[in-house]
């Protein structure tokens, strides 16, 4: 790619943003936090994947999905199934009536591994499945919805129903899924203990690495023609359609992309937390993930990361010091962000901090640069159909 092409894909401000985020996640946090807190940050970052997907779907595409937990869960469960199979080797499960199958299957009188668990013996298959299965699922939902021009509020509520269905199914089919307890007690990856501190460090950096990969993809989408089309669709869908674009296909694509991000986040979650349970599939976590995105700024891919970090940090701190009060704080945050700062942290940053930063850079480099063209598009209207 030519230098100019690269510059247009990664303008200076974004480059600075990438660098600052990398500095924080790779250098500052690992050096300043103990492994317990760093592991928490790693967990928060897995939500950032979901929030990142939501920035593309909701901020750019105007599609608000209240069922991102479904994809987070699918990714997480795929990973958990692989780890659970490894943890359930015939030696480890010798006391069961059927050794070699996960313990919860044994409790439910299953005597052999169900067919859909079989391929999860392979890590390659698992890794592919983590991305492909949620994408296919999102594709099916997307085709059914967007081809029929379902959007906005309808889409939000239908995704919510999907989340409800999947939760009930997972809980009800406990012989196959682990039920409400989820898939727990995951120990090793190819014989390597994933519960040790070293493993936690490794997974943290893996998580950060994957996050930057996804951020890169998101940046590419954002700066490409696709990104501009998404914004155009959000603002005036019919006009884009009349210009000869198949609006549905773009929406389907960005929805699939968002769900793939969420699924990667889910897999990272399983690795770092050590279990997966249906509580992440439901409606409540799905809506919470939307708020991470909204707090960070629904138009900023970096905002999504900071949003996820800040909200979760606040939640942990609040519930440690004032357990009875954190729901008030969360509720106030929802309302405050929506009413007072619709562009979230990123909006505040662009408005107040960025000009100063640019001045500083300009003074430092001796060059003046015009940043107004690069500003994140300020939101004017809410996307979506009535």
């Amino acid at each position: 790619m030519s230098y100019a092409g690269l510059r247009s894909l990664l303008p200076k401000n974004d480059l600075i943003n990438f660098a600052v985020l990398a500095l924080i996640l790779v250098v500052v946090l690992p050096l300043s936090l103990d492994i317990f807190r760093l592991n928490l940050v790693g967990k928060y970052l897995t939500y950032a994947f979901v929030a990142l997907g939501l920035v593309l779907c909701w901020g750019y595409g105007g599609i608000l999905s209240l069922g991102q937990g479904v994809f987070f869960g699918l990714g997480g469960y795929a990973m958990a199934m692989f780890l659970k199979l490894e943890a359930s080797s015939p030696e480890n499960t010798a006391i069961q009536s059927t050794p070699g199958i996960p313990d919860f299957m044994d409790w439910n009188q299953l005597t052999e591994l169900p067919w859909f668990w079989q391929p999860f013996h392979s890590l390659t298959f698992t890794v592919i499945a983590i991305i492909v299965i949620p994408s296919i699922f999102a594709y099916i939902i997307g085709v059914a919805m967007f081809k029929r021009r379902v959007g906005g509020v309808y889409f939000a509520i239908i995704t919510q129903a999907v989340a409800a269905i999947l939760t009930i199914l997972i809980i009800g089919q406990q012989g196959y899924t682990g039920g409400v307890n989820g898939i727990t007690d995951l120990r090793t990856l190819f014989g390597w203990d994933i519960r040790t501190n070293e493993a936690k460090y490794v997974f943290y950096f893996l998580c950060v690495f994957m996050l930057f990969l996804c951020l890169g993809v998101a940046q590419f989408v954002r700066k490409s023609k696709l990104g501009r089309l998404l914004v155009a669709m959000r603002e005036m869908e019919d006009r884009v359609r009349f210009s000869g674009y198949d609006v549905a296909n773009f929406k389907i694509f960005v929805f699939c992309l968002g769900s793939a991000f969420a699924a990667i986040g889910g897999a990272m979650f399983t690795l770092q937390v050590g279990f997966m349970s249906p509580t992440f599939v439901g409606i409540v976590p799905s809506i919470e993930m939307v708020i991470f995105c909204a707090v960070g700024g629904r138009l900023s891919i970096f905002g999504a990361v900071y949003g996820a970090l800040v909200v979760n940090w606040a939640k942990t701190t609040f519930s440690e010091s004032f357990p009875e009060l954190w729901l008030f704080a969360m509720g106030a945050l929802f309302i405050g962000v929506v009413m007072a700062f619709p562009n979230g942290l990123a909006g505040l940053y662009t408005k107040y901090c960025e000009p100063k930063v640019n001045q500083l850079i300009a003074r430092f480099t001796g060059k003046s640069n015009d940043t107004s063209a690069e500003l994140a598009p300020q939101m004017k209207t809410e996307g979506g159909n009535p």
Partner: protein, 422 residues
Amino acid sequence: MGTLKNAQAGLGGRLPSLMKGIASAVAGATMVLSAAVNAAPATSEVNTTGLAVTDDTVTVGILHSVTGTMAISETGSVQAEKLAIEQINAMGGVLGRQIEYVQEDGASDWPTFAEKSRKLLLQDKVATVFGCWTSASRKAVLPVFEQYNGMLYYPTFYEGLEQSPNVIYTGQEATQQILAGIDWVTKEKGAKTFYLLGSDYIWPRTSNKIARKHIEKLGLKVVGEDYYPLGHTQFNSIINKFKLKKPDVIFASVVGGSNVAFYKQLKAAGIDMTKEKPLVLTISVTEDEILGIGGENIEGAYASMKYFQSLTNDNNQAFVKAFKERWGDDIVIGDVTQAAYLGPWLWKAAVEKAGSFDVDKVREASPGIELTTAPEGYVKVHPNHHLWSKTRIGNAKTDGQYEIVYETDELIEPDPFPEGYQ
């Protein structure tokens, strides 16, 4: 020699705490004596693994949901654990050390439970944790406790199929609760047919599995088995199924908000439980749940569990009195609340038997620990970390209390992995 020196230094250093122990234990002279004797060991002796034990305090953790959907159920457990800790402190504490607690909120969210248990064990270095309520939260924290070698006192009656060296289960496992109940209902009430109903998750399903095996072993019949999603609020269809199948016994393990809806609708549909046609036998409704259901809506149902507030023994009367003094007169105490109350006492007994706060030593000392002061009567820790306990049948009354109609003669042995019932 070294130990003697340590002990002397320890005794000297312990004096302030000793004074405090004496001051707070004015109530009973014997207590003062035991506190004085127990206050002797030095911190370096009773704590070799770096737990949060100082010369006059020991820190423990309380980990329950005080927010979210489970807060309804877990509040009682928190209150019971705090009461037990306060009472122990008033008696001079454990090994001469006052118990301090760090309370964390699991927020009805399983990863939060895991996260908080990690915090309690790694950051706060608590000597033990009293907590968890649902099976899911226990399953989530279990690997953490096993990895960092913590100790958890788990209060809820649960499905069994678990026996961790790092958990003491102070509630009943499923067979203890269910088998006695079914035996009683067949023997005393001549029940022949059963309908099994539960919320759709692991505890009701496992419990019903055990119930079904036992019923079939007795040569009786299960005429139906049904599950509804957690939080389901419409039970008219299942009530019609009852009317069609006419079971002698409805064996119910519905939980949470569904409970309220189920019993209200059962009553409204003209099934008078006091007539015992069909008879309702539940394993999930404690006095706590009746508060929400309303005594008049569940009058006549039978419950099979190990503790009811209406137990008349002296231990229980003292416990109920203390509980009401501490937390208010209108409070009720259910099975789990009592089991949560046992936690700190069992831990104290184990620590004193071991003469150390070290988790490994406490674990070693735990089997065989007896508690003659338990509100439910007498309990004993089995080598499998569950409790020997009696099972009782209560008949629900309009005032929201159970009248105890039956009590097993012997303590029932806990059997978390029942042969042939899985």
